[in-house]
Every structure is written in C-alpha cells, then in structure tokens.
C-alpha cells in the first residue's frame, strides 16, 4: 500500500494562511497534470481519525478540489452527495445547521465547520476521461482517473467517474434545468474545514481541467492540512459583501452564548448566527408572546456607524432620505440611504446625539465606505466609524411595563426617542424603536455586557411570560406590520417610491443623494408597494406573480408573504403597477408555476396589522 507523501509539519508555507490549530499532517497536491517526481500530483488519498479536522485550501484561488470519503468497515460506506443533499436540504454544503456530509448508508462522515468560499458543487462527477475525450482531448488527465490511481492501493475498485463533493467548483442550475459552470469564486487561501465524524479514508484532488473556466484555465495547487482531534474551531461561513471589504466569518453576538442554552436552531444571517426558533417553544408561541405579552430578540446583525465632526449634520442630511433639521438630540428618524439613481442602498435609523454626532443603524457593512465617500467628495470634515455595539429588542404590549421596572425613565420615551441609562448597572442606550409593529424598545450594549443584559431582561420579563423570539416569528411579525427587508422589498435598483418608503423621502430638502432621479420617478414609479389579503389559507412566496383578475398578464410580484395568525388570513407584500395599487382592487396571485393555481387577492395597505404603539 502506498500513502500520499506527507510534508514535514515544520515546513512553512508562505503562500497559504497560517494553520488554524495543531497540525498533525499536511499535503501539497500539485495540479493534476504536473506529474512532479516524488511529489503528490493530481490527487492524494489520506486517512483521518474521528475528531480530526481536514482543511482543504485553494492555494492560488479559482481551483477546484474534488473530495471523496469512505467510512464503515473496509471503507465500504462512501460519501454520497445525493444522500447529503436530501438529508440537509441543501444543494451546496455549508457550515451551520445542517452541515454534515453523509454516506450511502446515511451516516455522517464529516461536517463542514468553516467555509470561506461558499460556492461548491454536489451534483456533478469529478472530471472524467470521457469529458475530455468528448471535448477533443483524449488522454487528458482527469480527477476520476487520479482518484482511481491513489485509491487502488486501498482495494477500492476504479470507476470511470467518481461522484464527489467538488469543493470550489462553481456550478449552478438555471431556470430551464441546465447545469452551468464558471470560474470558481474562491480567492487565494480560501478553504473548507471539515470535522471527521468517524475514521475515514479520504481523497482530495487538484483538478487538472485546463480546457474551460472550471479552474480559470490555469490549474494550481491544493493544500490539505489535518488538525489534531480535541480542538475547537468556531463554526462560520465566509461572506464577501464588497470588493473593498475583507472576508467576514459568521460570528456570535454578545447574546449568542445565552441563546445557545435555549436552542440549537441557529442560522447564518448577515454575518451572525441568529436563532430561528427556540427549543420546546416554537415560532407560534414566540409570535403570540410578541403580539400578546412581550418577546426578546437579538438584533445584533444591525450595523452601527458613528458619524462625528463639524460636518456630521451636513453628511447625514445629504445621504439620508429624511429631513433631519428638526430631529433634536435624543431623537431618531427612520429612512434610507440612497444612491444617485434613487435606488435604496440601505434602510435604517439615524440617531441624533448632537449636531456634530449622529449614529446610523442599518444593515450593511458597506454603509461606512459609502458615507465616507460622500463626505470625501463634498470635502466635509466628518469621521464615520463602525461601532461595536450589540442590541436586543424588547417588543410587545408588556414591554414598557417590563423595562420601566428596570429603567423608570423609559416611561417618558416617545416613538423614536432614545436615552442613555443603565440596566442593573449595565450602561445601555435605549430607543423606542423596533421591527415588529408593536410597542417596543431596542437596547444597545457593549459586547462584554451582553450576557448580563440578556439575563436581566429575561428575568424581568418572567412575570409577563416573556419569551425569546427567533427569526421565523420576527419575519411573520414584520410582514404583518408592512416593514421592509433588504433583498425582498428593496435593493439598490428599487426606489423608495416603489418600496413603499415615499413618505420617508424629504423632497423639500435643497439637495440630497438621488434627489434628481427621484423627482422623475416619484410621479409614476414603475411599481408601488401594496399589501394583499389572499383568499384561502395558502401562503405565497417571494417572486410569485400577481395577475390582473381574470387576465393573462402580470401586474406585479410578491415580495414577502406569510400566514397572519392575528388576522387569520394569508397575507403578502407585493409591488404592483400603479394602476392596480388602489385599495380594494381585485387581483390574483399565481401559485406554483403561476398557471396551475391562481388565488384571488385584494389590495390593501402595506401594513396589514398596525396596533397602537
């Protein structure tokens, strides 16, 4: 039996990220057609024991590495991508829940712990001789043949094509069902970190495909590191949101350790691990706690930026859609950041501390650079910095009573006012704001005080039967309240007049970003936001068509939808042409393929539920 050549772990590689932990073995795989004497080329086979970690690194970027694993007795239970897709419900493996890669017998073989690329393939074979033959390259090395070569010493029978998990292979399925591929999204040093759930024989390739974009026409090395068992690596997905911002791995908020005590159902959202529902509780109970009593949620995914300087007011007044002239210290205003063609860059709240100090709370890491860019272009003296504050939202009809017991001054806060105070000695900023449509507050805190604040609020809310609330219930509540979500109701091609935020645009301001474009759009936006109440219980989904009643043509599409328990109705937010936006207009929502079933719906206000707050 031959084994892959191990590199001494004392060797230093300067072309890849430093080790994440205690390395027990590492291998450099030359590109598949390199055939370097005494060095592994094309593919390697290697053993790992349960609990060890496998890091597969794309050294130079844009390089695929196909992966096989064999568990069970005598390596009889291979990794199976179809089983994995079926059990995880994911086309592409990812870190989080679910994250395991399963065998043919449905046993977990490995688990994705970290992934800095996020785009892989689980549908196609590792490249085969047949592929190259059909393309006019008979005899071209292939990953499948390379796997056959390195697996033969282990008694594993050859196959003309290996069904592998193809890391960094950038494939997609289009609307017509065709599978396409393109240059990988991976950058130099991108990696996938796997945890072995059992003793495994693994094989990794450095794909030799140089005849198409699969490796950018230039195959490059793959590096495999094995880490010792017993180490802890934080789970994370890498996110790149802009070319000028670094990769960001999913992080915990200051409240996540407390939340993990109550649920294992967390998902990546905008760079953070956020709870979806809480164990033994469920989104229904969370929803009703919010609507009838009180609920506590972690909204630390919101980005906070401090805007300071003599021209701070000039910047926010020019970049933000609202007129902030009358927003005094201690007040905030909801609106949006705009781009020059009137598209919504982000929505959020500007808090005023003084004319030379504001805080913007929104959704995007890119907001800082956008605000800085505007300030620079205008020659304004102002600094924009990200602020590391995490925040909880305490929402619901009992929220005032709960919070007033801790901070009596809260009773004086009007809508969109804020104060700085303490909760049991913990410094907090409390604003009367929220994302649920209910009476509610948000509490901003330094990360080191997060756990204490969570505990204090959970304890204070016990008598009111406060529940922690996850994203599923929050999404239902925000749709009922007609509140917008980035990527659903708006993006940078959507104007505020289309998204339902026309009321938040101060056209009387002398000038602001996007004003000229919005002057033209406002009188007849291509579509306008409305609420729909559907006949029957079926729930629509984002992107489904809205038809004129009884007609064959579309008049809009659904942006968000849910079943509203409080209204006992299926509701949706939609964007329709202005001619069909009047309240009471009858339309039809196309479910399934838009043809098989149409459900009648009635146009109404964007906010289907608007309690007194």
């Amino acid at each position: 039996m031959t084994t892959a050549l191990r590199i001494s772990t004392t060797d230093r590689f300067t072309d890849i990220p430093p080790p994440l932990g205690d390395v027990v073995a590492e291998y450099r795989i030359a590109p598949g057609d390199a055939m370097v004497k005494d060095r592994p080329w094309g593919a390697i086979a290697y053993s790992v024991t349960a609990g060890q970690f496998i890091q597969i690194i794309d050294v130079a970027g844009s390089q695929c590495s196909d992966f096989l694993a064999f568990g069970g007795e005598h390596y009889s239970d291979p990794l199976d991508a179809t089983v994995t897709r079926t059990l995880t419900g994911l086309a592409v493996p990812q870190a989080g829940l679910p994250s395991k890669l399963f065998s043919q017998s449905m046993q977990p073989l490995t688990e994705v712990v970290q992934d800095t690329c996020g785009r892989h393939d689980s549908f196609l074979l590792a490249c085969t001789a047949r592929y190259y033959e059909d393309a006019g390259y008979p005899g071209h090395p292939s990953c499948s043949d390379n796997f056959n070569r390195v697996l033969a010493p282990y008694g594993i029978a050859p196959r003309p094509g290996w069904p592998a998990l193809n890391f960094f292979y950038n494939t997609s399925v289009n609307g017509q069902g065709a599978i396409a591929f393109a240059e990988p999204l991976s950058r130099p040093g991108d990696y996938v970190l796997l945890l072995a759930h059992q003793d495994l024989l693994c094989a990794s390739s450095s794909c030799p495909d140089d005849i198409d974009p699969a490796n950018g026409w230039q195959p490059t090395p793959i590096h495999v590191r094995i880490y010792a068992a017993g180490q802890t690596f934080a789970r994370g997905m890498g996110r790149r949101v802009a070319a000028d911002l670094p990769l960001r791995l999913t992080q915990d908020s200051a409240f996540t350790p407390s939340i993990r005590q109550l649920t294992d159902d967390l998902a990546e959202y905008n760079g953070f691990w956020v709870p979806q529902t809480f164990a033994h509780q469920g989104n229904q109970a969370e929803y009703w706690a919010l609507r009838q009593r009180a609920a506590l949620m972690d909204l630390s995914v919101l980005r906070k930026f401090e805007i300071r300087g003599t021209d701070a007011f000039a910047l926010v007044q020019y970049a933000f859609s609202r007129n902030l002239e009358k927003v005094v210290p201690g007040q905030g205003a909801y609106g949006c950041l705009l781009n020059p063609h009137g598209g919504i860059v982000d929505d959020g709240i500007v808090f005023c501390f003084s004319p030379t100090r504001y805080r913007y709370v929104g959704n995007c890491d890119t907001d800082r650079n956008w605000l800085r860019q505007i300030a620079q272009q205008k020659g304004w003296s102002v600094a924009v910095e990200a602020v590391d504050l995490h925040n909880l939202a305490l929402q619901g009809p009992c929220s005032r009573e709960i919070l007033t017991a801790l901070v009596p001054d809260v009773s004086t806060l009007s809508y969109f006012q804020f104060l700085e105070s303490q909760v049991q000695g913990i410094p907090v900023l409390i604003s009367r704001t929220g994302y649920t449509g209910e009476l509610g507050y948000e509490l901003f805190v330094q990360p080191q005080n997060g756990a204490a604040l969570w505990e204090a609020l959970m304890t204070a809310g016990k008598s009111a039967r406060l529940l922690p609330l996850g994203m599923k219930a929050l999404d239902r509540a925000r749709i009922e309240a007609g509140l917008l979500a980035l990527g659903y109701e708006f993006d940078d091609l959507t104007s505020p007049y289309q998204a339902g935020l026309g009321w938040a645009v101060a056209m009387k301001k002398p000038d602001f970003v996007g004003k000229a474009a919005l002057e033209a759009i406002r009188h007849h936006p291509p579509r306008v936001a409305v609420g729909l109440v559907l006949a029957g219980p079926e729930v629509a989904t984002h992107g489904q068509p809205v038809f004129a009643a009884g007609e064959r043509w579309r008049v809009g599409q659904i942006t968000s939808a849910t079943f509203s328990p409080v209204l006992n109705a299926s509701i949706a937010m939609a964007q329709v042409v202005p001619e069909y936006a009047e309240a009471g207009t009858a339309v039809e929502v196309g479910l399934l393929d838009g043809l098989k079933r149409r459900v009648s719906a009635t146009v109404g206000p964007l906010a289907a539920f608007d309690p007194t707050k």
């Binding site: 829940l97 649920t263 294992d264 159902d265 979806q276 529902t277 164990a279 033994h280 509780q281 469920g282 989104n283 229904q284 109970a285 009703w288 029957g536 219980p537 079926e538 079943f563 328990p565 006992n568």
Partner: protein
C-alpha cells in the same frame, strides 16, 4: 407500570388542514408550533391534538373524526394510519429530565437530531427520536390526566421496542398498545 385505555390516533392533513383544525378546536390550535400539542374536547369527548406540520395534525380521539371532518367539506384527508402503532409509557413527570442519567432507561437510550432536544421536553410537546435503532415519535402529554409518554412507531417495530424495554427493566414493564 401500567396504563389505561389507548386509541389508535387519527391523522389529518391537506391544504385545508389548519382551516379544519381551527374549525374544530378554535384559534388555540394555531398557537401550537410544530410538535406541540393541546388537550381539548370535541363533541363532548376528550381529544389530544398534536401539530406535526403547518397543516398536518395527529389526534387521539375516540369519536368518528372522519365523519366530523367530512361535514366541514374541506380539502384534506383524515385517516387512521394502518401501519403505525402506539405504545404508552405511563407515569412520566411533567418535564423529561435534563440529563440522560435521570431518565428512565428507555429514554436514556433515545437520541434526537438537532435542532430537536429531548432533554427537558415539557408536557404537550413531541420529538422525532431514535430509541437505539428504532425510529419513534415521542409525545409527552397527559393521558387520563396523568403525564405519559406516547410513542408512535411502525407497527412492525412494536415487538422490537417491547423486547428493548424488557431488556432494560428485567421484564417488569407492562405496556399499553393501541387497539385499531
């Protein structure tokens, strides 16, 4: 251990599953999340309602649920699943212990897949689980007023479960199984 009368559950599901449940049991049924249940009455008879999905429900009910639902003229099916059996482990506390050491031997052998949690499972909650290698739905709810564990599993596996339980308890356990 012993238990009282047990019925073969009714299952109902369909596009109008929630509409039917609300018509039968009122708004309270829509306060249930998936795998949560409530005890109620239907036409004067006790009824336990377990929500399995948005529009799927399982009920223990002695009356003719199929006839009652048919009168609603809605789009859903109602049946007693011929291949599914029910076993009851009586006299469980109102919350399943937080640690395996504190559990009954059979529960100590059960595992669940994330994000489900078996430990600390309160009353009126259920969880899909594997008891050693036997797949079962463990439903923690009152039966005749007493907290109990109702296990739903393939009828073909009931004998295996029985043997498993006896192996943990030196043959001292008597089970109640559902009558179809």
């Amino acid at each position: 251990m012993n238990a009282g009368k047990l019925t073969q559950p009714w299952d109902m599901a369909g596009a109008d599953g929630l509409v039917a449940a609300r018509a039968l049991f009122g708004e309270a049924v829509d306060h249930l999340a998936t795998f949560q249940s409530m005890e109620t009455e239907l036409e004067g008879l006790p009824c336990a309602v377990l929500r399995l999905c948005n529009r799927n429900f399982r009920l223990t009910y002695l009356g003719p649920l199929d006839r009652i639902v048919a009168e609603l003229q809605l789009n859903l099916w109602v049946k007693q699943l011929a291949w599914m059996g029910t076993v009851v482990l009586p006299n469980q506390s109102s919350t399943i212990p937080l640690t395996a050491q504190d559990c009954s031997p059979i529960l100590a052998q059960a595992s669940v897949r994330a994000p489900h949690r078996l430990r600390g499972l309160p009353l009126n909650c259920a969880v899909p689980a594997q008891i050693v290698a036997l797949p079962a739905l463990i439903w923690h709810h009152p039966i005749e007023g007493q907290p109990a564990l109702e296990l739903h599993l393939a009828k073909a596996q009931i004998e295996n479960l029985w043997r498993l339980i006896q192996s943990f308890s030196d043959g001292s356990v008597s089970l109640t199984t559902a009558h179809t």
